[in-house]
Structures are given as structure tokens and as C-alpha cells.
Homo-oligomer: 366 residues x 4
């Protein structure tokens, strides 16, 4: 599994299982001199903390992060930053049943196929708890981006069939509802919809949208590390994400060139675009306008409803998944999507520093 | 631009500009002992060759590939395979105009923003000709996959608003129409639709679908190099692709868990799935069923229709793009998508070889 | 500092400072199914533990390792293995003086030059304690190599001017003396020599030799990841190492081709070499004979003797280094060299698995 | 063989065999805006060109380089630079004999062991011709370093037992003798020594020394990509190099701390070192003084003298190597060592740009 590291300049390596001793991340390549404390990271982790309302797992974890290295006198030192969160309320007894069977929609079978066996407790490495490391690192990346005037805004665009009304979008609403929707009316409808799914012992998915503003043009590394390609990898690496699109995305396939192209024009001596169908990216590089992308999240596979499946003895069986599960993971995944986007943008921002001779000369001249 | 290399085990590095001397690729990590000749690669390149019909650029290039290294006595030697295709009909005069202005929907502006200037001849590095290297490498990867019984099938799912009818899908039709659609009726409609766009001096996009069969379960490297995450990066790295989805994709967001989950069952001693909403991937690993993904391709940005834009002197201007352009790039992109998928799957297949101690011991025991 | 990760298949990422909360390592890419417990790692860590005799720092640390992830029911699961060792006896007061000055032979000045400031407590990241992560990972790598019949033997070849007598070499002696020398007489002389250096408030260096037996021919990845090149990087990455040589090494420069070449001959149906001047490597690949390399370790820079230097206020000063330092680090570095060699060999052994089509086909055929 | 790429920011990928169609390199990550023409590269290639005198192979190759991409209007564009050199005088008939036997000191056996077979013509990939790609890339790296005031000086320190006299070192002499020695008297002795070896149908090795001046302090990425570790890998990746040392190197092992430490002092407001035993590196980072390292080169293994070996039929045989070989490769390897050093230093110089928050902020502020 040599795939636990992401990034080339701002590198993260996550580790840990749902019911092991702890989960964590090592951040390597953080520039020295950033003011950083545990509270900076805790704010992000609290956004994904379980047990906050009936739409998330009742498992109670306070998910307190501890900084073990890389910070001295309140500043990053340029050395690896190790963050750890201990698993406190692991209840392995809940999961004895799933040791012996392959849950539909889960990675039980594929992990067994790959590794020969697996840590079945709470999903082990495939648990949503693995994202704690991503979010902790994302908090650090976001702080750096903020110092450069780059800001990320992420929210739930739809839950099941309930979508926000773009004409009623109000970003101030995002934190006013447990679903992180920028539309109070849609949020209310979505809650009612989820109540129905809960009553049915079933679950729901949704779409998350992320906007990145303040990004300079020219960020991304052709031809394989284009900004959109790296974002796609980062977002699809989140469990349960089944689709990624940027700007008009799949809708662009049906447009004509004249509809989809964004015209350039001059505005106060700056090059601007009249529209933003591109979602802020041209040729894989940021074009100076807002980056806008969406991630499709599948419905939680753990449902109490009866399902057919097979067990490890190769017998057909019926199961009903017990345990502490989210009926919809979209709201808790919002901060994960934002973190992955922040990590990706920062990494490419650092990569871009060596793109030009004049930048190099200016950097090193005394 | 240190982003021209893709893959960790089967690595490719592409190089070259549209109107430079040549374009090419170096393939590093190809196992020794594969029968390989130029014809194996030429077959793939011919699928993306320009000038084949009125829906592709009239630029005539025979795109003959030459193998410069890595093959001896008809077999790969394990050393880097260097492939080159000379640019024969570069007509730089066509492009003098675009040197001075930023074409909407193109990377002219973002390349200037990043690098300070650009090779403007025919789009330079951002030209579709860059994909020649990808397709040449994809041919080699596909040949290896075929020896293991893994096959890829790629086709046009829609052109503009014209989509194939899944109930009429006939894979034998794919090579019977210039649009590579597996539905002769849809292909006919799409051609009529494109004729309209051509008459309007406008362009169209579409959706490409790829199916990979015969893949073993367990391929992919959690958590950042999951199979779907790597496919997403590879596909989004293709110019003009604006979206990627796997299995139900964006549609999954509106389904319930019980609808979207694929039940397992036993079939002749094998674990099978009753449905394939997952698109062949669970937890980022192949699950043994067919991999199915789609890529959304935007309409060609080069259109003869008048557009507003700015020039390098920061003046608002109007342009009408001349030159030899495809009114729709979807058909020629089909083999590019297939190549990127083959490269990704093969790379992860090689990575998977060290997943287990028993595999390691068996491999090295005498 | 994105340089804290080593390896491509068996990857390690170390983190931690001498006087921070803890030091550790994340191992990614360990094959699933290896029997592993904390004791396996502890045995290696005990070989580098401080405070064992008067030739190592009197700082007392029991360096108990804790496994936080990646192991379940006594076996590795294929997921990242996180190892942590808490720093228990950090005494920061010892180091208040060095906060303000640049110690000769240390990285104080260069870290300030690079990062703007540094964690000066006990050398921070440049402390020998950083090697704990390397040794923990090396223990795991060695265990895997052992299951394949590959064994490493590492020892002190010289301390200052005192060298072992090759004709008296007895590997059973290595663990009978605190200097890990395979020659009891030389060990006794070296101890006397060190007593003199201690009396002078001075320090000593030495040479470490490592032998790897049982390695298959063909391991190494031309042309930049040759086995010797990777070993050189791994060994030079250890603080205080100033030279690396393989086989005859620097001595080879004065030999003739006929003296330095190793003749092949047949022995019981096996290809063998009459001599081993090459140190077990030809063309960057293992040749099936014993790998033999040496590392030159400089004298400990921390000495009580008065030295000239400058402080952070740019003033010339005199210092005498206090604190708990090793008069010679060679003996404690023996296990570090062995660990780095084990990590390198294992990584390349895993890389080699995809070298040939027949190996690939055999691996995946049912 | 996924080991043909070196570097993370300034990446090179070499390809090609001795008697294939061509050899070459793709350079990825070269900053845009560097003035570059084929002549810049040719000057470096001419320094390693064969056939210049009786101490190098009589094979005549003019080794004319061609730039195929990445340069436009005389400047690099930031896209991959592809360099090619055609093999013109490949005489495969010379090598028919070695197809069937394993030459002592060569990689014939190990390549067969790894890949199952090999391109035996002229050593194939293991030929010295592979270094053409390295030297071409090194020329580009050197040009960039020069613009920053960083200069490399490389020369032969010894040939066989004949070493330069450090007290007579005159760098102006380097280009006055075919052995590139900075000491005319030693050069004369070395020529006489080589004449003797030639008469004996035997060969010689030697030591190459490289000095890098003008490098800023703080370059290198702890802990695994330290400057000295990266140099060691780069230098050991050159065929025939058997040892690497920096500063005092192996000699440091016998010194005391007080002898080996370099005292700092203030000089015109700058921090300087009284001595340079460290070879310009402390803690793996450049310390602002001259980088000095040495590489030990083994004697050419191809000798006309009779040797024992085995053939592919596993029979003991005697051989005498014919063909066009260098009796000593040290002089031609001088520019290879310099190139590898330039590539390494430049790569780490680019990596260092993201080390600090203040550097990042200054770079991106408008």
C-alpha cells in the first residue's frame, strides 16, 4: 500500500485504522515560519466530528489533535509535522459480525482480495476516520493559502434529489444548518427527505461544491499534473466519491463552443473573463477566475435494511448492518473535500515557484 | 513543468509541441520480453490520426512512429522505450495571428501567465498532438494487458445532445461510423447535428465511455492511488475533459443506499455482484466486475464564429479562429481516453505485485 | 523539507525532534501478512539505545516503541505502519546556550540559513534521535529480508586510526564488545584510544562495514536507481557519514583491470565469481555474491574542548560544548547503517518484481 | 527499469543503447526563459566525445545533438526539452562474440539475470554512451547555475597510482592535457603510466574531484535528500564509480573532532569558516563554502588480456576483449561527474524555494 502519500512539495502521509490505537498524518514540506497551534487544526477537525446530530453516526469521539513535531515556539520549523488523534471510543464488539461477511458497497471483499485479510473493526483503514489525517493537513494548507489571499468555500449542493436553488444561494446560511447547505429552504427539504430515508432504514448521497477564490493565474503543471487533474485525483481518493466535474462539467458536453467559451476582456488594466464556464481552469492551469468544482457522493452503503451478500465461507446470506453509521455522509465530507482541494492547490502553488528563470533569479539574488 | 511524467511502475514522459520538430514519449518500466514492433503502436496512432473525415482537422499527418530504443530482436529489453513522430506538415503561417491574442477557451493566456511567453505555433504544447505520446504508450500498455486477458473498449456515448440508446448498444458498430458510436442510429443523428454546428461555424462536445473487462479484484493502492482516483487524474489530464464519473457517477448522488449497493452472491464458486452500480470499484480497488467510467469532453474552443477577447497589448478585440481545427474532438479523443485508462490500470497492476508476503515469497523462491 | 520520505515501494517517512514530544516513522508499502510485534522492532532499537556505556551519551532513554497502526492480530495488513517513541528525558535546560550560537561541525548555521530559525533543543531534527525512525523501519525490512534468506551483518571496521585485522576477523566477537568490532584485540586497542580522546575532551570517528548475503542477482534499477547508487544515498543521508565505497572502493582506482575484474566460473551448475572486488554489484545490479560496502563516519562534532565560533549576533566567541554527547557515534551508528541498507535492498527487491513479462504472467495467472 | 528518471524539480529521463538508433534525454522542469541553443549543449558533449586521443576509444562519433522540443525563439518555454544524438558508427559485428559470454567486470551477467536477455551490442544500455543524455542535461543545468553565480570545476585527481600534488595544483592546466589533470607534471607521469598499461593490454582507474563554488548556504532537503546524499546517488549511478566522499571523506574517520570541525568566524559581516574539512556541507545542507567531493573510478573492465569466464551455455571459457575501448575512462568521465553534480545542485536549489513562508509570500505578492 505505497499509496498513502499525496503531494510532491507539500506532502502528506496518512495512517491509522478506525479501531486501532490512533489515526494521524505526517506533513512534510510545510514552509518554515508559519504560526501554527493545535487549535488551528482542531477547528477543521470539529467540522467533521461525529455525533453532532441525528444525521451523523452517534459514535462519540472528541477527536482532539496533538502536534508531536515540526512546531517550535508557535511556528513551523520546516521539519515534518506529525499530528495524532487517539481513537477513544472504539467498540470492537459492534463489528464482530462483519468480520465474517462482505458488506455490499464496502471494501471488505476487495481488501481481502488484495491483502489476504483485513482489519475488519469498523472498516479498518477504509473507515471515514482515515480522513482525519487529511483534514488536519488541510487545515494547515488552508492557513497558508489564506495568508496569500486564497480562500476556499465548500458546501452541500444537493442531498439525494434535493438541490439548492442557485438563485437563492446564500453562503451565510452554510453554517446555520447541519447539512451545510447555502439555502435554508433546501436545507429544510433535505432534512425532511433524510427523515424519510432514516425511517426506511436506508441512506442518501449528494453533491458537494467547492469554490476557490483569489488564486493567481498559471497554477498547475502540464501535462499530467494539471490543476484539474490533481484535483480530480485528490477528490476521487475520498471514499464514496463517484464523480468529479469542473465548471460546466458534464453539462459542457452538450454546449456549443460559442456557448462554452469564456470571452476575455480588459477591466481596470486586468484581464478578466465575461463568464466562467471553464470553472477557473484553462489548459490545466488556473485562469485567475474562481475555481468551481463538484464531487458526487454515493449514498452510505451501511444500511439497516436487509441485503443479500456472501460470507467468507462462500455462502449466500442476508445481512442488516448494525453499528453506528451516518445515514448520509455528505455534510461531514464537506470539510474533507475542502481539505483535499486546499492540499492540491498549495502543492501546485509551491511547484509553480520554479516555472521561470526570472522568478528564480529574483528569488536568489541578494 | 515537471509534470510531464505519469506512473510509478510503468512510467511515461511525453514531450513535443505541435509545430516543433517532433513529438514523442519515453516509456520506462516496461517489463522485458514483450514482443513489440512499430506496427503495434501504429495501429493505435492511426485511430487518432487527423484528416480522416470532415469531422476532424484537415491537417494531413501520417504520424509514422519510430522506435528508437528499448527493443532488441523484436522484444522489449526492460530499458526505456523511446518513440518519436516527426511533425511533417507544420504550417506556422496559419498561426501568426494567435501569437498576439488570447483565444477564448484556450490556454494561451494561462501559459503566458505561468511561463512569461509560449510557443504559439498551433497551440504549442497544449495542442492535441501532445496526445500522440500518450497513445503510443497506451498501445504498449494495452498489449501487455491483453496478454493477461484484460481488455478495454471505448466509444462515444454522446455528441452534443445526441446520446446513444443503451438498449440499442451494439459494440460491433463502433468502427462502422466515424464518430465511434456503438449505435448506428445515434451516429447518424450525431452526424446531422454536427453538420448543423459546422454550418454555424461552431463546435460540439460529447461524452466518452470506457469499459475494462477481465481485471482481477484488488487492483489500486489506497488511499491516494486508488484505481478510481488514478483514472480520474489520467482522464482529466487530457485537454478538453471537464468531468469524470465511475459507475453510476453523478447519478449515484440521488439514489438510496439500497438502490446503489451491489449485492454479492455465489456463482460457480466465484463471488459475483448482482448489479454493477459501483462501476467495478469498491474502496478504490477493482472488485472483479467490469470497470465503467465516463469522461465529459467540452466543445472545441477553436471556432470560426466571431468572439470577443483581448490581445497581448491589453486591448479588447474581436477574433475569428482560422486554421485547421476539429469541429468536435470526441471521436479522436476516444483512443486517448482508452490509452490513459490502459496506462493507469497497468501501472497499478504492477504496483499490486508487492501487496502480500505470500506473493513475494512465491515470486522469489527458487 | 519534503525530503523525509525514502523508498518507492517500501516507503518510510520519519518525523520528530530530539526534544519534542516524540519521534517516529510511518512505513508504507509493507506487504500484508508479515508476523510483526513491537518486540521485533525493540530488538533493533536497543542496539542504538543511548547510555549503555561510557562511549555513548549518558542520556537515559528506554526508547520503547509503540505500534499504532498497520498490524492486526499479529500480522501486517498492508496499510501504513505507524511507530512512535516518546522522548522521556528531554532536558532542554542543557541546550539554552546553543540557542544563541553556531556550533562548529553542526547544522545550526545551515538550518538557520535555510529555514530562518530552528528548534535548537538538542539539535532538534538533526539529532541522532531522528535515526530511531530509520532503525524501527529497518527492523521491519530486515525481518522481511530474512524470510527470503537475505541477511545483513554490520560492524565497526575502525575507530580513529585503530582498524580491525582482516586476517583476525571473527564475527562472533561483534556483540562481545561495546564497539561492535569483529576483532577483540582491535576492540581493546580502540577502547584505549577512546579513553585518550575522552581525557582530551575530544572525539573520534571511524569506519563501518556492512555485508549482505543471500541476495539474488539482478536487483537494482538502472540507470539512476542502481543498487549501489541507492545504497550511497541511503548511507550518506545518515548524519556524520562523509564517504561511501563498495567492494574495493577507492582502492579500485589504483588497480589494473586485470586485478580488479572478477572472473566468472561454473560451480555445481551455478555461475560464481573467483573474487569479489566488485563488492557484489555489476552495472548497478547485484551479481549474486556478497554485497560489501563501507561508510566513513566523522568524529562527533560536540566536544568539550574550547572552539572558536560566532553567535547569532554575529560576534566571534569561544565555546565549550556541554550536554550529553557520544565521544564516538560509530558503535551506535552500526545498526543505523544496517537499517538503511535493509530498507534499500528491500525496496529494490520489490521494484524488481515487475522487470519481466514472464514474472508478470506467472504472478497473475490463476 | 523504472529508474531512468532523476530529479524532482529539474527532472531528466535518459534513454538509448550503444548500438541502437540513437540516445537521448528528456529534461522536464527547466524554468522558462533560459537562452538555450544546441551549441550550449554541444560544448559539454565534446568534452566526453570519443576518439580524441589514444587514451580513449577509437570509435569515431561526432555526437551532434539536436534539440527537438522545449525551445522557441532561442529560449526555453518551460515545456520538456528533448535532446537526441544519433548513433552513427555502430559496428555491431565487433560485438558478436560477447553475445554469448559474460565479460568479467561487466553487467552482461546481471542484465541477463534481471531481464532474461539483453541488447548485447556494445554493452547496450550499460554502455558509456548512455551518459550522453546526462551530459546534455548537465549542460543545461550548468548554464542555469552559472546565471546564479554558481560554478563547477572538475578534474582528474589521480590515474592509477599517479596523484596530483595538491601544492602544485593549477586549474589552468586542466584543459592543457588529455587527462584533465590540474598539474602538468602529474599529467605527464600519468601518461607514461598509461602507456605501460596499454602495452600490458591492461587498463587503469582513477579519482575525479569536483568543486562547486558560489552556492548559497541552506541547499539540501533533510533528511533523505540531503545535498551530500543526493550527490552520492547521482555520482554512484555513473557506471564504474565505486566510491564517493565529501570534504575529508574517509580520511575524516581518523581525525579528532577538534581537527575535523571547521570554526566559524566573522569576515566583513559574513559568516565564514576557517577551514573546510566538511567539504561545504553541514547537516546535509550547503554551508556557503566550496563543495568538494571525489569519485573513485574503477579500471576499465574491457581488456585485451586473457581472462577466465563462462558463456551462456554455462561452460568455462577464456576470452580476450576486442572492440574499441578506453584504456582509462577517467578523463571522459570528468564531464559526466560535473554534469551529475550540476543536475543535483540545481534540483535542490529549486526545491529550496519553498522552504520558508517569507520566501513564499515575497514570491507571490504583487
Amino acid at each position: 500500500m505505497p499509496g498513502s502519500t499525496l503531494g510532491r512539495r507539500f506532502k502528506i502521509t496518512t495512517w491509522g485504522e478506525s479501531h486501532g490505537k490512533a489515526v494521524g498524518v505526517v506533513i512534510d514540506g510545510c514552509p518554515a515560519g508559519l504560526d501554527l497551534c493545535e487549535e488551528d487544526i482542531q477547528i477543521f477537525l470539529d467540522r467533521r466530528k461525529p455525533g453532532q446530530n441525528k444525521y451523523s453516526t452517534p459514535r462519540k469521539e472528541d477527536d482532539q489533535v496533538e502536534l508531536l513535531s515540526g512546531v517550535f515556539n508557535g511556528k513551523t520549523t520546516g521539519t515534518p509535522i506529525s499530528c495524532i488523534v487517539y481513537n477513544k471510543t472504539a467498540r470492537s464488539q459492534d463489528y464482530s459480525e462483519i468480520a465474517a461477511c462482505y458488506r455490499p458497497g464496502h471494501a471488505d471483499y476487495t481488501f481481502d482480495a488484495k491483502y489476504g485479510f483485513r482489519d475488519y473493526r469498523g472498516g479498518g483503514r477504509t473507515s471515514g476516520r482515515e480522513t482525519i489525517g487529511r483534514v488536519a493537513a488541510g487545515a494547515v494548507a488552508s492557513k497558508i493559502l489564506n495568508t496569500l489571499g486564497i480562500r476556499l468555500l465548500t458546501y452541500t449542493r444537493s442531498i439525494g434529489p434535493v438541490e439548492i436553488d442557485p438563485s437563492h444561494m446564500d453562503f451565510n446560511e452554510i453554517n446555520n444548518n447541519p447539512l451545510y447547505m447555502p439555502d435554508s429552504q433546501a436545507a429544510q427539504q433535505a432534512r425532511e427527505f433524510l427523515d424519510g430515508r432514516l425511517a426506511d432504514h436506508d441512506s442518501a448521497g449528494g453533491i458537494i461544491e467547492c469554490r476557490i477564490s483569489g488564486l493567481f493565474p498559471g497554477i498547475g503543471e502540464p501535462v499530467f499534473h494539471k490543476l484539474d487533474a490533481c484535483l480530480a485525483q485528490a477528490i476521487l481518493s475520498i471514499g464514496a466519491v463517484k464523480g468529479f466535474e469542473i465548471g460546466e462539467g458534464f453539462h459542457a458536453a452538450a454546449l456549443s463552443g460559442s456557448e462554452n467559451n469564456d470571452s476575455f476582456y480588459m477591466c481596470n488594466g486586468q484581464i478578466k473573463k465575461e463568464t466562467n464556464h471553464s470553472g477557473g481552469i484553462l489548459g490545466g492551469l488556473s485562469d485567475g477566475s474562481e475555481i468551481v468544482f463538484r464531487a458526487a457522493v454515493k449514498p452510505t452503503p451501511s444500511i439497516a435494511k436487509k441485503q443479500h451478500t456472501v460470507n467468507k465461507d462462500m455462502e449466500n446470506i442476508e445481512i442488516s448492518i448494525k453499528g453506528r453509521h451516518d445515514p448520509v455522509i455528505v455534510p461531514r465530507a464537506v470539510v474533507v473535500v475542502e481539505s483535499m482541494a486546499a492540499l492540491t492547490v498549495l502543492d501546485l502553488l509551491l511547484e509553480n515557484m520554479s516555472a521561470r528563470m526570472d522568478g528564480l533569479k529574483k528569488f536568489y539574488e541578494k
